[in-house]
Symmetry: C2
Subunit: 161 residues, 2 copies
Amino acid sequence: MADKNLTAGLEDYLEAIFIAQEENKTVKGIDVARMLNISRASVSEALSKLVSKELITYESYGTISFTPTGLSEAKKVYNIHNTLKLFFQTVLNISPEEASENACKIEHIISDNILSEIKDFTDYCNNHPEIIDNYRQGKDNERNLSNRKIPRPADSDSKSK
Amino acid sequence: MADKNLTAGLEDYLEAIFIAQEENKTVKGIDVARMLNISRASVSEALSKLVSKELITYESYGTISFTPTGLSEAKKVYNIHNTLKLFFQTVLNISPEEASENACKIEHIISDNILSEIKDFTDYCNNHPEIIDNYRQGKDNERNLSNRKIPRPADSDSKSK
DNA sequence: ACAATTTGTTAGGTATGCCTTACAATCATG
DNA sequence: CATGATTGTAAGGCATACCTAACAAATTGT
């Protein structure tokens, strides 16, 4: 019992339970199944594993609760997710949905060191808005130059294969 | 035959073969096994899959070659890897080894859109070195403030467990 | 309170992707 | 050119993680 090693899948369950707890207060297996869009049977298996690893407590038809270790693991994953999402959204100007989807996958595999650098760099960029502003403006200008309405006179074969 | 859908694992094989080809010229199963540090048996299985997907051509004891589709897929993965690695190294100041390890995992799951933003942003940062210089200098100052050489008088237990 | 609905579990199945062992085919060199 | 080393394959196993179907237990509504 209490094997501790978490696969990406189990981390997703912990994260989902954590988020659901913040919203719902009480979380049951079915909630997790709906959130992660997987079968009740798979959730049942996964919850058994989390119980045997002593990360949650849970009895059939009852409410899921974290053990102290489980809560700390869940928060860890959740924070990583948010760090990545924030970077994608605020530095790279990615939509919240796409930022979240990518964070969900990358959160399980990125190294602590890179994550910490991403966090610091994101903070720095958000404290110096001119960096992102200038970058974004540069991109817009570039886009307008290549998509200009009036074609340049000499560029007669711009449409050829 | 020619199913086209590539798992992360198969992408790794294509990438490894591509890299080995650039170095060795001729690549055989054993080379792939050594590069990826997996058994010859597993490589044998994987190569069969790649052959049935028409991404490589290969006969027992012979040399592995890409089909046009396979080469294009391999290059795609390789380029994604390099884009991520470059970002980690040049923007986040991560060591080449760690940058590469993380790129290897993330390259299979990141969205095209985020990747393209990472590429552009990396280029921008490298064209405006003052951004990274200032950022890094800020980090150094912070570090020196908290790690000052002369301990503050009251901090008598700074070496205790 | 009991029937219908919801929720959970079990059993059995699929797919991926790795492993080891044992054997087969090829290669390389004396 | 034979034999020992290398390389490849086949068979059988393991672990993860999902599924459906069938059934069981709990909950809900009237």
